[in-house]
Amino acid sequence: MFKEMHDLFQWAWLIPFLPFLSFLIIAFVTKRSKRLSSTISILAILSSLSLAVAIGLGVIQSGEKIVEHPAIVNVNWLNIVGLQIDFGTIVDPLSAMMLFVVTLVASMVQIYSLGYMHGDEGFSRYYAYQSLFASSMLGMVLATNLLQLFIFWELVGLCSYLLIGFWFFKVSAREAAKKAFITTRVGDFGLLLGMLFLYVKFGTLDFVALSVAMNTNIQDVAVIGTAGYVTVMAFLVFMGPVGKSGQFPLHVWLPDAMEGPTPVSALIHAATMVVAGVYLVARMFFLFDHADPMALQFIAGLGAFTAIFAASIAIAQDDIKRILAYSTLSQLGYMMFALGVGSLTASMFHLMTHAFFKALMFLGAGSVIYAMHHKQDIWEMGGLWKKMPITGTTFFIGVLAISGVPPFAGFWSKDEILAHALHNGHPIIYGVGLFTAFLTAFYMSRLFFVVFMGPEKKENHPHESPWSMTIPLMILAFFSVFGGFVALPEHNFASYIHYGTFHHEPIAWGLAGISVVAGLLGIGLAYATYIKKAISAEKVAAQYSGIYKLLKNKYYVDELYLWLIHHIMDGLAKILYWFDIYIVDGVVNGLALITRGSGRVLRRTNTGQLQTYAMVFFFAVVIIFMVFAFGEGQLSALNPLATLGGVK
């Protein structure tokens, strides 16, 4: 049985390969035909989806075995003395889950884009990028070693750049693309250093080999302060996820990334690429586990901070996509602190459910934006549910899911995270998480009530989106409703995806009740404020105008960075410029001046008179002869006459 499954798992490489093939075909052959390009791309990703489903089912069938022994295929890619790099595929429950999520969301987004991107100039280019992204993301999920993961990690960053700047004729899109790329590079630099450190220390970047090395590696030497090198590695590696998964302080790129087409935001900046960081931490969890406990505490703290930080910003934003972007940041913080409190299961579970409902909401937002002719301010919308029943209903499901209302998907995963935070002894983080859940429910309901309920605005003429857009919404809504049930059965999600030994933990209904109450409170508050108008949002904003301004302006982080760049970095650049002009150039020019001056003096010895030269030449030979023949010390040892037995 297991043997046959292994044969199936060997074909995992096809999953990233098919979209890549589609990218090549679109880029080099069918670029002129929009219809053909989109068809090829969608066919490729659907084939990948079916393969991913097959592999997922295979993993479930294999049961416990695959948890202990992942199906790994490695092909040697580079082999020089002291450096061996493999390329391969790893199939275990973790990657199988990711494969399914990525291919599903990517397929939905690509089908959805048929409607959303209809008539766009760069339609084929869009599908080429989408295919390349899907391929890179899937390749990253299947990576067997850190270098392979890093290559695909950078490739998804590239696709993100290309797709944020898809409408490159808009200045804001160009700027956002650059911002996203450069900001994530900051984190990637740390990741690269971490990889080098790991390689130098352990001589391998293979995940399995590394985890074995970690387990057998007993002595940990303090390198920085009291922190051992494993801890330093953990922190360096964690810098990558901080950038990629938008953790504070490198979160600034994600809200700006909303400049890209909305389906792109749904796929890359909500469901898949931004969770790459979480996935990396999960893959490398053994590293964080072997590091000093403060590494995981740091992750938990940073994640919790990001969660509440982004959620508080989201309540004061007006742009429909930006609210969702900050919500994504907040939920990424959730996943991070779930890892930080030591629950790989909860984090991955939330990653999966979040991918479903956040992609759903982004696509829903896209549908609204499409109907509103590219208006994005929520206050210009209103009463859209009647005009757009499918979008409205599916969006409502998304809101319920993210708010943690049972039995929707978000309830199960959020509850699992909060329960683990409390059980593993992090009451403060539990509190922050609970409050964030309340905020999340509030701003999401606010968004929903303002956009879909309330009075209609007569200047708008919205209409339901075409089938190509609503069907993906319905499919994602289905998963947002039922996706959480994988936590229920005896042989559940946690028995496949976990770290260390598996303990079956029944759902803590008491805790679940508390978080449901927090979520319902948030929804209720939003209802009271924006539907019943019992609480005046304007009055509250006016009363706490300081806080409101702070939230509205996203805590002035962007302004702070600009200030830092203008004053600190430019000041430093000025000093370095001075150093370059006067010190570095001074040395170089000074050397040249000395050479020129001595040349000016010495050239006088060149008379052009042959006989002078001959005389100098002759007497020089005579002097050298004298020294050799009669000189003392070292030179006489070279005496050629002595070796001939001559003058003594």
Partner: protein
């Protein structure tokens, strides 16, 4: 005194040295470039005399035979090379004369700053 005088190595070397010095003087002091060339020939021949003399008095005596011609061969090489050098040198001088209407060494000082 005179009866005891024998023609030995030092006599040949003396002749060679004198010849060399005459040649050296010519190279240093002559104005005409053809004379300089001739002086160089003198110096080369001084060297030839030394070769032959050393071959005769040191090399052969040291190993006790009388038929090794190493020095002679070297001298012959010098003569051949000198002939070639004169051919090239004279050709150069003719060309210089055609261009400058002069064979005076003092006039040939353009190779300088």
């Amino acid at each position: 005194m005179i009866g005891n005088f024998s023609v030995g190595l030092s006599t040949y070397l003396l002749v060679g040295a004198m010849l060399f010095c005459i040649g050296l003087y010519g190279v240093f002091a002559k104005r005409n470039i053809i004379a300089v060339l001739m002086s160089i020939e003198l110096m080369l021949n001084a060297v030839n005399i030394n070769f032959i003399a050393f071959n005769r008095f040191i090399w052969n005596e040291k190993i006790g035979v009388n038929y090794l011609l190493t020095g002679h061969v070297a001298a012959l090489f010098v003569i051949v090379v000198a002939a070639a050098e004169v051919a090239v040198g004279l050709a150069l001088i003719i060309t210089i004369y055609r261009n400058r209407q002069s064979t005076d060494v003092d006039d040939l000082n353009w190779l300088k700053w």
